[in-house]
Amino acid sequence: MKTLKEIKCGETVIVTKLSGTGPVKRRIMDMGITKGTEIFIRKVAPLGDPIEVKVRGYELSLRKEDAQMIEVE
């Protein structure tokens, strides 16, 4: 079981599960990261965090700490 945090740049993954609760989870889901969504990891910020991903055809940035809540395969 991997989380989005561990995925390298340039890979494409599918979301299997979202852990956590509350505002952060809701926000991640509101932005379109839901079960079965395809995510392309585009790049990492110059200081190593946050990351930039492509999801549902647009660019989204999120912190690694929050990416940990997203389980992928």
Binding site: D30, M31, P46, L47, Y58, L62
Partner: protein, 727 residues
């Protein structure tokens, strides 16, 4: 009949452009009551009875961000007659997510698909008839930028508003969720109107506390929640979000065809360079240097000098034509009518100087706002947050806080105003509170005075001032983050990086002017009033047994007042009335501190660094008390102009006073510690003050290293609550 139409849509979808196109110059910009979220209203062009309300850009109607709560409260409580839902055609999937929520409010919806020119150009296809059928609302293709289709969109909205046809959401969730929703709906009392019942049922199921508190009767739906959570193995909030996206995915195939999938867009190419791992920071530094150089150093200085020294100083030149300054125009006018001396003083040194203090900042600020508006509109500002986030988030600040602080080294007033670009409320408030800790150019004369008078112009005094400023920001960030004021829902950093695009000239100018004007209007009153009060207390007092205007500041009310409160500063090492009065006049403008010392020591005029009074000052202060005085003036409440800007940006009396109180309080305790502990080290004198200083240092360190419980406890409590509910 007056009609209200709300404009709703995601951030970066062209909403502002559409709003400007619909209303033209007929706009009113303000704030939503009690919050810093901007509210814009305007009349539809050519229709005096039709109001367009621009809602904040939002992704969802969740209860977690200020913008979302403001928008949905408006939609539920004010019930506009129609909604124009603006959707970015180039990013339709995520945009439709908000649409599914808007559709449930029981208000007629017209969907305006924007950026259709870009969509056509790329060869993609959106089938609007299909979309209209699947969503159950009217759909119009528009390009807000080119002005196509907007008339049709507004006409349709007006027509729907007049017909009062409630839009009924056609989209359906899975049968099991629908049946649960039906049973929740049946339990809702009659205080909720028919067309809003589905919205309330969904919010009840989502356990949305903000909506629950608005309802008169809250039905008990624990049974339904437990049932659906067991059935679908997730919490209700996630179930519903998931269902919405599932529905969108199911309809999007028939409504949207993408042609060239793999081609890299221009925006992608730009982004590849601009946020490149190695190039991002140099490019960022270059952009910041450019902004700083133009807005603060070169053009900005010229503009400020022109306004302060020219228009409100000694006059200026227009193509060789000498134009007298505003104060001198007033002076000759008042002389001509034979005005009495005190009234002349009040008008010129009080009111005109006060207005000058407000307006003097405006030219520079407009230049800065022009840059900010451009950086925001083109999409680079979001990248600034992306690049700098890691560095700033540790101190409870946003990556975007870098810009206010950088500008703050020039002048704190535009610095504070630059915090506008930070969306997150807590990050913005933290930035507003800490920006003025950075020494601005007006504080440099104080540094030069103290360094020259007591430290023989030692090289380290000025850098130490900046070091203390940065340290104050970092420590304040870490400590305040843990206080009650800044706790609450942890704000996630999940941010869209919008595609780069060239902003329109009109939008950038409009944004620049709106911000500049709001400074003049909201900050102006504070600045003007306080300048007049200080002027009065400086120039009036008792001399020769009667109250009146005094020539010598030593006799003024301010001197009297300074004498009364001076003992407060005794623990800081400078409890004499002259230093106190100097610090107070520093509130008008920080460089006044030097001038006031000059006047109090009997000099008519002193150089900027006050070199004439160095010897006198050196006699009345020790190196320690002087340094403590310097630190106090650097950190305490900024000048009135900046205080006005803080008031404007906080837009809340409690937060405003908290900010000013915190700044002054911090300045006091830091200066106290420096003086007391410094005294202990240099003279081995141990007294009550030393004990207090050590207690403060200990408390400070405790606050600094205390683990931050905030976010985690909040989540833990929620988890426990959820588990209890399950049991």
């Amino acid at each position: 009949m007056s009609i209200k139409i709300a404009l709703a849509g995601n951030p970066n979808c062209g909403k502002t452009t559409l709003f400007n196109a619909l209303t033209g110059s007929n706009q009113f910009v303000g704030n939503w009551p009690g919050v810093t979220v901007e509210k814009k209203e305007g009349k539809l062009k050519g229709h005096k009875d039709i109001t367009i309300v621009d809602l904040p850009g939002i992704y969802s109607l969740s209860p977690y961000t200020l913008e979302e709560v403001v928008a949905r409260n408006y939609l539920i409580n004010e019930k506009p007659d129609a909604i124009i839902n603006i959707v970015d055609g180039t990013n339709i999937e995520r945009n439709l997510y908000l649409s599914t929520q808007l559709m449930e409010l029981g208000i007629p919806v017209v969907m305006a698909i924007n950026m259709m020119d870009v969509v056509h150009k790329s060869g993609d296809k959106i089938y609007i008839n299909e979309l209209s059928k699947k969503l159950g609302c009217e759909v119009v293709e528009i390009s807000a930028l080119k002005g196509t289709g907007i008339k049709e969109a507004s006409e349709k909205a007006v027509k729907l508003a007049k017909e009062k046809n409630k839009s009924i959401p056609i989209h359906e969730f899975t049968p099991v969720l629908e049946s649960v929703l039906n049973s929740v709906e049946a339990k809702i009392g009659f205080d909720v109107s028919e067309e809003q019942r589905r919205f309330f049922a969904i919010k009840l199921l989502e356990k949305d506390e903000k909506i629950l508190s608005q309802m008169k009767q809250v039905p008990n739906i624990e049974e339904e929640i437990n049932y659906i959570e067991n059935e679908m193995d997730d919490d209700t909030e996630s179930i519903i979000t998931n269902e919405r996206y599932l529905y969108i995915s199911s309809i999007i195939k028939d409504c949207y065809k993408k042609t060239n999938k793999e081609k890299m867009s221009v925006s992608d190419k730009i982004d590849k360079i601009v946020t490149n791992r190695f190039l991002a920071l140099p490019i960022f530094a270059l952009v910041m240097f450019g902004v700083y150089y133009v807005a603060v150093t070169s053009v900005g200085t010229i503009a400020t000098d022109w306004a302060n020294d020219g228009v409100f100083g000694d006059g200026w030149n227009l193509f060789g034509l000498a134009i007298p300054s505003i104060p001198s125009i007033f002076e000759s006018l008042l002389n001509a009518v034979g005005c009495v001396e005190w009234l002349k003083g009040l008008i010129i040194d009080g009111i005109v100087a006060g207005v000058g203090a407000v307006l003097g900042f405006v030219p520079q600020m407009l230049i800065l706002f022009l840059f900010l508006a451009f950086l925001e509109a083109c999409g680079y500002m979001a990248r600034v947050a992306f690049i700098m986030d890691r560095l700033f988030r540790k101190f409870g600040l946003s990556g975007k806080s870098f810009i206010p602080m950088l500008i703050g080294t020039g002048c704190g007033v535009p610095g504070i105003m630059a915090s506008r670009t930070i969306e997150n409320d807590r990050d913005r408030k933290m930035t507003i509170m800490t920006t003025t800790f950075i020494p601005c150019t007006a504080k440099l004369p104080i540094i030069a005075l103290i360094a020259g008078a007591l430290f023989n112009g030692a090289w380290w005094v000025a850098p130490s001032a900046y070091f203390i400023g940065v340290l104050a920001i970092v420590c304040s960030g870490i400590i305040l983050k843990k206080t009650k004021m800044f706790t609450g829902n942890p704000a996630p950093f999940v941010m869209e990086l919008p595609a780069y695009h060239m902003p329109t000239f009109g939008n950038v100018m409009r944004s620049m002017w709106e911000r500049g004007w709001s400074f003049i209007k909201k900050a102006g009153t504070v600045i003007l009033l306080s300048t007049i009060v200080i002027w009065f207390s400086q120039n009036f007092g008792y001399s020769n047994g009667s109250f009146g205007m005094v020539d010598d500041m030593n006799d003024s009310i301010l001197a009297l007042f300074g004498g009364i409160i001076a003992p407060i500063f005794t623990p800081l090492g400078w409890g004499n009335w002259k230093s106190t009065v100097a610090a107070i006049t520093g509130l008008i403008a920080k460089e006044n501190v030097v001038g006031t010392f000059g006047v109090l020591y009997g000099f008519q005029e002193v150089a900027e660094n006050g070199s004439e009074i160095w010897a006198t000052l050196a006699k009345s202060m020790t190196t320690l008390s002087a340094y403590s005085f310097l630190v106090f003036n650097l950190l305490c409440a900024p000048c009135f102009a900046a205080i006005g800007a803080i008031k404007r940006e906080m837009n809340n009396a409690k937060w405003f006073w908290f900010a000013i109180g915190y700044q002054t309080g911090l300045a006091y305790i830091v200066s106290l510690c420096i003086y007391q502990i410094g005294t202990l080290i240099t003279t081995r004198h141990f007294g009550f003050g030393t004990v207090v200083a050590f207690i403060i240092v200990a408390a400070f360190l405790y606050m600094l290293f205390k683990p931050n419980k905030d976010g985690t406890t909040h989540q833990l409590k929620r988890n426990i609550k959820l588990q209890k509910q399950k049991i």
